[in-house]
Amino acid sequence: MTLRLRLLLAFALLSIVTAVAVAGVGYVRARDAVVQRAQDNAVIETTNRVEQLYPLPTRLDAAALERIAGRVSGREGTALAQARGVVAGSMDSSVITQELRDLVSSGRVGWQRVPYQGGVWLVVGMQLRVTSGGSSSGSSGVEVYVLRPFTTEIEFVGELARNAWLVGGAGLLFALGLGFLAARGVLGPVRELQLAAWKLGQGDLTARVPVRGRDELASVASTFNSTASSLEHYVGELQRMEADARRFVADVSHELKTPLAAMTAVTDVLDAETGSLPGVAGQAARLVNRETLNLTRLVNDLIEVTRFDSGTAALALDDVDVAEVIRASLRMRGFTDVTTSLPTDVRARLDPRRLDVIVANLVGNALRHGSPPVFLTLWIEGSSLVISVGDSGPGLPDAVLPHVFARFYKADSARGRSEGSGLGLAIAWENARLHGGTLVAANRPGGGALFTLRLPLGGER
């Protein structure tokens, strides 16, 4: 249940209880008072009329009882008088309950509200008593009942009830309105907090909430703000340190490049001359040459990686025949032991030199670490081109799979470093990403590693 709903329900409950308490109790008391007074009046009036009957006629025959009934009935009511089994009067005797009869026959004045002719009527009944000898009184044997309409009073009570409902309902609406306002007052800041926390989670570390007033919500807001501030500070610090580290790598690579450029320039001279150098000197020259070229490759790869990291790597897009690029890539590197399936007419808009880097790294990797035959397959799937490169070796261990694209990751820690810069697959992966594509490593069901590259074909732009 939402906080808003809970608050509204609490207010509604509170207002209902209050309305019931105020309006309900007021109504009940007013109703009782009205009914009581009306009954009292009716009883007093009836008693007064009965008193005017005295002295009672000595012969209580039907005619006398009829007269008595006529005199006590009043203008609105009807009456009934009975004595010793003789009943007279215009009143319908069926409305007198046994309960009332018993009460009256025991000598008391009784009254009761009864339903009659679609309304509420009051029946008042009493015995006519005679005094003999001044002190004790006895029954004259005559009982009179008066039936009078009670509808006016009931209507008045009904109006009271309506008023009570109206007041209660208005109070309830008012309370709900207040509850809504209060909920909004509480929930507004809560929503602001929620939004700010969401932004923070999305990486917007500048997200803050306004602090209003001095209540509990304000203190939550200011705590949130100070937490976000310190988070921003630490993340900024981390980013600065990371940027420093990256810049350091980039600077080192660039600094290495100039001496390497001089050394690389003369490797061809050395290569040509090693034959004429005597024994050990020739070997040493070949070693220096080989390692200069390895170092050059490593530095070039490092620089490439720093360009991906700093976001300065850019695509030089061109419309190419993909099979042609792959063939050129394999040919240029002398990769002849590859079984290829290259359909013609796969044209795509991509950076051919970056595709070359990916293909060369995947095939080179398969040739070095996998077992022949190595195969390369090209096909189109929807709006992507897919290139898969696989080998027939034992495949990649499960522990290695998640890390194959990590920089300088070596599947076999005992493996020497002459197998490449250790950045090849990482660079291939970054190149795929730069194209908006993916590069995934897996194992084939039949054994052997399988790398799958997916690149968008790219449309006319």
């Binding site: 490049k257 450029a261 061809d268 300065t312 061109d318 050129a328 808009r349 051919p352």
Partner: protein, 226 residues
């Protein structure tokens, strides 16, 4: 063998490249700054300039522009590896090709040979071809527009000769890289695009709406049809 003017500020790189190029039979004049290089141009008359872009004083781009303004001497720039902005700016300044450092001498040698290879496009019997306002003399390697000779850098001329050798036929950037720059599929297609831009600015009435060198979107370039 060709005479090479090498402008490179780092002493070791300058020495290494001089050594290697000399070893391969070139005559090398190596200088440290752009000013020295520009001064030497008239006195030593090199066949090709190998130019480092990062130079103290007058930088490589400016040197490139000045050489280009003075004539059609081929220029190969030396760039920091894959520095895209430098490459594009250098090509726009008029360089014919570029080599990324560190580079083996044989790579630089191949680029030098490519820019110096002038007339591999077989000259047909017809001496001068007319295309609209343009006259192309394949024998004398002279291009005139409205009767006035157009000064084209060697790569620009070769590109125009290649494209106009079969008017109306679309050539992909890779084909052009192969035939004009001696590079294949894996050459830098920006070489072609930059050269086309420069060529258009010299032979077209309106470089934005080209008549002679037209772009065929998704495939490459085409000469005409007029």
């Amino acid at each position: 063998m060709p005479r090479v003017l090498l402008i490179e500020d780092d002493e070791a790189v300058r020495e290494g490249l001089s050594l290697a190029l000399t070893y391969q039979g070139h005559t090398v004049d190596a200088v440290r700054t752009g000013e020295e290089g520009l001064d030497l141009l008239s006195s030593v008359a090199p066949d090709v300039v190998v130019l480092d872009l990062m130079l103290p004083g007058v930088d490589g781009f400016e040197v490139c522009r000045r050489i280009r303004a003075a004539g059609d001497l081929p220029i190969i720039m030396l760039t920091a590896r894959n520095d895209d902005i430098d490459v594009v700016a250098g090509l726009e300044a008029g360089a014919d090709d570029y080599v990324a450092k560190p580079a083996q001498a044989r790579v630089l040698e191949a680029r030098i040979r490519a820019v110096l290879r002038r007339s591999s496009v077989s000259a047909p019997e017809v001496v001068a071809e007319r295309y609209g306002d343009l006259t192309i003399d394949r024998e004398g390697l002279v291009v005139t527009r409205l009767g006035r000779p157009v000064s084209l850098a060697p790569t620009e001329l070769r590109l125009l000769l290649e494209l106009s050798s079969s008017p109306g036929r679309v050539m992909s950037r890779q084909q052009l890289l192969e035939s004009v720059w001696d590079q294949g599929y894996l050459g830098d297609s920006r070489l072609v695009d930059a050269c086309v831009q420069r060529l258009r600015s010299k032979i077209e009435d309106d470089a934005a709406a080209p008549l002679y060198v037209q772009t065929v979107r998704g495939f490459g370039y085409r000469f005409g049809p007029l």
